[in-house]
Symmetry: none
Subunit: 161 residues, 2 copies
Amino acid sequence: MARKKVNLAFIQNASTRRATYKKRVQGLIKKTEELSVLCGVDACTIIYGPNEEGPIVWPPSEVEAKRIISDFKRKPEVYQSQRKFNQETFLSESIKKVEDKLLKLKKKNREIEVGKMVSDILNGKSTLKEINSSDLGDLLWVIEDKIKTIEYRIRVTKEGK
Amino acid sequence: MARKKVNLAFIQNASTRRATYKKRVQGLIKKTEELSVLCGVDACTIIYGPNEEGPIVWPPSEVEAKRIISDFKRKPEVYQSQRKFNQETFLSESIKKVEDKLLKLKKKNREIEVGKMVSDILNGKSTLKEINSSDLGDLLWVIEDKIKTIEYRIRVTKEGK
DNA sequence: GTTTCTATTTATAACGT
DNA sequence: TACGTTATAAATAGAAA
């Protein structure tokens, strides 16, 4: 983020990684505290360092941290509230681009539907038999794509060794 | 942090506070992900918004988040104050440190194994039938986890307008 | 390894719509 | 109230000590 843009990938060089880790842990903890204080909300950050030290936690109070965590674990459908951290702006000045945008949205809508399908299947709410061939085609396409992502992450993990 | 230095105190004005909240949640989640990916560490951030349906969490996978939280809660109450960041940390004896390292190594090895399994299956070098039930369990766990991450990304892309 | 020192990239507070 | 823009404050990557 300085002197060079950062690539969101595991830092191979050990010493560089350690240095970055230190700086960023400090920054992350600070940001957590700031959000909590400025906006008056409960926020908790837990970091397991590469060392054997033990987790770094905010808020500093063990009781407070566990309270927030307990609240979290009690909520079943936590992820419904996950949302919009995305800055994607394929905005444009011409009609052509607006049309492109519409197309993309439709495509993404489809992806969401398929994503839910996958989820339902994994959760036993649905079975492959209940899915029509058209949907199945999309399903395979998406899975194939996701597999690539997984392979990439696996590769990164290995190299990070 | 712009146009004026920020005062670390509760923002009285409701609309300003709300606007700041939205921006900073976005930033905090991003920072959490960056630290995790760049440095290859487990990190978890939970935010309870003022009037939202549920907490905002990173990592997006419920499984992953709960695993990290469990690790945290499982630790004995051997907390000790530390010098940096007003954080708290567990003091451990040298024996425990060694044990922890061993545990991490085993975990990493297992991750690599599972990763190779997925790879082999995708490349037709192996089939699901050849995998024993124990391995299959890990495999499903990993895949399910990845799927959730994927769902999150899809959702974010969609709602990101 | 760690601390300090920039050069730059990011994050974002205050505005404008 | 929400979203896009802009001026600044912060964070931080890489270099140097």
